[in-house]
């Protein structure tokens, strides 16, 4: 039983091939990490899953259904939520409005109010700042908002692109701890990280280098130092 299947994915920007051959499967309920150094193809893989960039070759399937050439908003409506690199919250919208525009009534029976309460319960800081323009918040608060926004459509799969980037260690711990709480509620998470400490969170994952999968395995296998060295240092 798999939730997300990525098979022989190849993606590029013009002549530049960022992802050469990537395959992995994400099982329901797990925290799956996509590790790798800068430029190893992690972000591009997520962007391909979200429909933000068309793959050159390969197959992406959600619950066995191939996504094909559908638009990003259609991917979101299938229950795949993407917390993009750099957070990309709507700076000129209030915290409340950032969340409410991301609510998709077709995806859930829950009311907007009920989901807002869940998100604010998860991130009390956002509730305190619900009227504030999102662009005026700190990086950590914006990251919470980006995650909260991705939860508004009651996803089956939550994808996060380097949520720890630019955050203080304390804030990083807080964000990771919240991700665990979200995972404990049964949500499947696909986490892209350069920060190898993300392995502690993972059930399993893959290590990418230069657009191919160099290692795949469970947490124990991933944390073995030689794998990490090989992926990051190429030795």
């Amino acid at each position: 039983m798999t939730l997300l299947t990525v098979e022989s994915l190849k993606v590029g920007y013009g002549d530049l091939i960022a992802v050469r051959d990537v395959s992995f499967t994400v099982k329901p309920g797990e925290i799956f990490v996509l590790l790798g150094a800068n430029g190893s193809g992690k972000t591009t893989t997520l962007r391909a899953i979200s429909g933000l960039i068309r793959p050159i070759a390969g197959r992406i399937a959600m619950e066995g259904e191939a996504l094909g050439a559908i638009k990003p908003h259609a991917v979101a409506r299938l229950g795949i939520s993407h917390v993009p690199e750099g957070r990309r919250i709507f700076p000129n919208l209030s915290v409340d409005d950032n969340l409410t525009v991301s609510y998709l009534p077709t995806r859930t029976d829950k009311s907007l109010r009920a989901i807002l309460d869940e998100v604010y319960g998860l991130f009390p800081r956002l509730r305190e700042r619900h009227k504030q323009m999102a662009g005026t918040m700190s990086g950590g608060e914006q990251q919470m908002l980006a995650i909260g926004r991705a939860l508004m459509n009651c996803p089956k799969l939550l994808m996060l692109d380097e949520p720890s980037l630019g955050l203080s260690p304390v804030m990083t711990d807080l964000v990771f701890e919240r991700l665990e709480a979200i995972s404990n509620q049964g949500l499947t998470i696909l986490l892209v990280e350069q920060n190898a400490s993300a392995i502690d969170l993972a059930t399993s994952g893959v290590i990418l280098s230069n657009g191919v999968v160099s290692m795949a395995g469970d947490r124990a296998a991933l944390s073995s130092t030689q794998y990490i060295q090989k992926a990051y240092l190429g030795v």
Binding site: S50, L52, K71, P72, H73, P84, F90, L104, R149, N153
Partner: protein
């Protein structure tokens, strides 16, 4: 009261009234830019199209242009949605030069079509409002301009309310902030852009209806209006709705003051000076957003 003071107050008040209408067509231009980053240089022609449409309704039925607002508004909304889906969508995110050339081509097409239908003559309507004046002491104001101002204020208020409070309004603002992020939270940016562009054109149509009350139209009117929308938008802040409205009022007041105290022939000169000053020293305008995306 000395005659200078009377002239000053008269110029300021007339400027405010005319400025409401400038503001009304400037917010349409600003909306298209703010949401889609499209510099729609055909916006003046769309206002002109609204003027001719209201004129046609008047010719056929004798109805006052104010009564033609709903039908002309709907007509321009449809024209706008069509224009976006057939032409402008292809140029979203492209170089400004490409957008500019396309918009100029569109404005030429609109001009030529209107010239073929209506000829080159200047045409106006005999509006009851346009020919009557409110006289108050030494001051006088055209009822047409007063009505136009009221319509403009209502439109800006309604637009602002829709953008702030409704789901579609919030989605439009989200797309304006970051179209890609809006897509990944499930917003269909194509549909949202189409609505925003249609609203921009609808506002141009409404502006045309109120303008024709006191401002006769010929096929060159669009070209004459376009610089005002551009300058108003730059003064107010690119992409800011309230800013564009404020910018329109400032433009009209500057014109009125210049024509009262200097010469009507030179009324546009200070506008261009203002444009240069804002572009050089205050590129975000009075109310512009400083967070670029």
């Amino acid at each position: 009261m000395s005659s200078t003071v009377v002239s000053l107050i008269q110029a300021l008040a007339s400027g405010l009234l005319v400025g409401g209408v400038y503001g009304l067509f400037s917010i349409g231009f600003s909306l298209a830019f703010g949401v889609m980053r499209i510099v729609n240089f055909a916006h003046g022609e769309l206002v002109m199209l609204g003027m001719y449409a209201a004129y046609s309704v008047y010719l056929l039925t004798g109805a006052d242009p104010l009564l033609a607002i709903p039908i002309v508004g709907i007509f321009l909304t449809v024209v706008g949605a069509g224009l976006y889906l057939v032409v402008y969508e292809r140029f979203v995110g492209k170089a400004t030069l490409q957008q500019l050339l396309v918009a100029i081509a569109i404005s030429m097409v609109i001009q030529i079509i209107l010239q073929m239908i209506y000829g080159p003559e200047t045409r106006g309507v005999q509006s009851v409002l346009g020919s009557q004046y409110l006289i108050y002491g030494p001051f006088f104001f055209s009822y047409g301009q007063i009505a136009a101002f009221i319509v403009a204020v209502i439109c800006v208020g309604v637009l602002e309310l829709l953008l702030q409070k409704t789901r579609w309004g919030k989605l439009i603002r989200a797309v304006a902030d970051d179209p890609e992020a809006a897509e990944i939270v499930g917003a269909n940016s194509r549909a949202i852009n189409t609505v925003a562009f249609a609203v921009s054109c609808c506002l141009a149509g409404i502006a045309g209806c109120v303008l024709i009350i006191y401002y006769p139209v010929n096929p060159g009117t669009g070209m004459a209006l376009m610089p005002i929308a551009l300058i108003a938008t730059v003064i107010g802040g690119l992409g800011s709705i309230k800013g564009a409205f404020l910018g329109g009022i400032i433009c009209a007041i500057v014109q009125q003051l210049t024509s009262t105290f200097w010469s009507p022939a030179l009324q546009d000169v200070p506008l261009y000076v203002l444009l240069l000053v804002f572009l050089a020293f205050f590129p975000f305008g009075l109310l512009g957003r400083k967070t670029a995306h």
